[in-house]
Symmetry: C2
Subunit: 304 residues, 2 copies
């Protein structure tokens, strides 16, 4: 019991987005109770572990929803809600709330979700008995459609993450920047995966663009992009630290990356009017600003 309580503090779940130490991919469990105690999927009944805009840390595929389709590395997962308790039949619409909103938030936040298959899930990937942990997936897309029952259901496309990108878990509560963030490279960013640092920075600015103040509102919450000032990797070798990050809208991301807009040491914008919004808790390294100016910005007055 002590163990199953370990991660509950004042009713708060210490939600781990990633592998659970001690339970590698392929781990088997005899029951939902065992799965819950291991922390691989905490809820004992619900298929989605997660709450609203925090994101979902795990899902169980256990045959409950007739519309889920399983292609192994690519799963079309059906959201929850609208089912009758006694029969399990779909008797109403699903809404983008609770677990469904949590899964949608994974896409906005770039968080991975653990996938567990149960024996009752009708798929060749299911274990013959009990439950098996099948690793980390990204929520690649989500949409609504009419299910076989005629009611509106939410669908989530879950795409398996390469094992190399998912070697270590990270923990949103302790906010440790461990392996999951230090392994970040171009590929990872392109796939829309985010580091914990990026998520924190965007939250600090409440998803407002530091250049124009705009906040892109979506149905699953606000959207912003975290952008490295000095790019990571050879030959730029920018650091994977928050003093090298900005929170921008998608348009200013493009303009900054393509050198149309840059930032002076006093945070005046170059290439457009205005000044960078900087929260007092966000230290920006001016060396990085200078690197970006010297390498990416084209001064319209200097260029012949």
């Amino acid at each position: 019991m002590g163990d199953s309580l370990r991660n509950y503090v004042c009713g708060m779940v210490e939600r781990i987005f990633g592998h659970i130490p001690g339970y590698p991919e392929g781990s088997c469990f005899v029951s939902r109770l065992e799965l819950s105690r291991a922390g691989v999927h905490r809820p004992r009944v619900a298929g989605i572990s997660g709450r609203g805009r925090e994101g979902a840390d795990s899902v169980v595929l256990a045959g409950g929803y007739e519309d889920t389709q399983d292609f192994g590395n690519d799963i079309l997962y059906t959201g929850h809600g609208g089912r009758e308790v006694e029969t399990g039949k779909q008797i109403g619409h699903q809404a983008l709330t609770r677990g469904n909103l949590a899964l949608a938030s994974n896409r906005l936040l770039g968080l991975p979700v653990r996938v567990i298959r149960g024996a009752r899930h009708p798929s060749s990937y299911s274990p013959s008995v009990g439950y098996r942990y099948h690793g980390l997936y990204a929520v690649d897309d989500y949409w609504q459609e009419r299910g076989r029952s005629g009611f509106r259901i939410w669908r989530f496309r879950l795409v398996k993450l390469p094992i190399m990108l998912t070697a270590e878990p990270y923990d949103t509560k302790t906010q440790k920047n461990n392996a999951a963030t230090t392994h970040v490279g171009t590929t990872l960013l392109r796939l829309g995966r985010e580091t914990e640092q990026m998520r924190q920075l965007k939250a600090l600015y409440r998803y407002r663009c530091q250049m124009c103040g705009k906040r892109l509102e979506t149905s699953a919450g606000p959207y912003a992009e975290a952008v490295y000032i000095r790019p990571l990797g050879v030959p730029h070798n920018g650091s994977d630290t928050s003093d090298n990050l900005l929170c921008l809208c998608a348009n200013h991301h493009v303009l900054f990356e393509l050198g149309k807009v840059a930032i002076a040491d006093d945070f005046t914008l170059l290439g457009q009017d205005g000044r960078l919004l900087v929260d007092f808790r966000h230290h920006i390294n001016k060396q990085h600003l200078r690197y970006h100016r010297e390498h990416y910005w084209i001064d319209p007055e200097a260029e012949g």
Copy 2:
């Protein structure tokens, strides 16, 4: 002679962005003249084949620029200009014009560039004699820096494209939608590769967003994103045709894809004020608009 003139019409070059039929990767050439006649790299002296905002179709690495670094699948290519004719020494700055602007445009337009290495290029990937064609690369990034000479040079990161994505050439003059466009899938789009259809649509709208009219100006030209209304691939199965495409700014791309904004059959925007700008030459399939509305849009008034 007839053959080498074939592709010149009224002084215009029929520029092929992709493999040249009959010259697969690995093809060898004894001289620049042979390379030029084959159409693999037309200019007989210049290292970059391409003009301004049309993009560059090929580059030759032949040892001319001291700062080029070659890691095989990842090349840091030095732009041209600023060298003394007699000595080849860097005696002035390089500007983002001519071939350099062409290479930068490849990034904006999502065009591939053929890479040819010459024996004089100091790299373990170079042929021992003559020239060898090494396949298609994407222009992944570009920036300026001080070269070894102390003058400003432009650098282009060229990244090898997987062979599966580059099986067939496409031709911007005949505007045929051949294999290169029909193979397009999610992976291809994520990598920022564009189909000819996408480029044409963006050109038709002069890179203005069909939702807000905004045009993102960058140092290498205007920037816009081509967005599928009904997504390609299972389970949506949208078509890879221009009646399923929109030209949007990066912010409206996010809002449309995440279901915040949709489009009514009469082109009124849903979720924000305004109306979609539609050129009379751009036929939009209303089935696709409906698919997007039904699957992605969340009507704030309907959702409980």
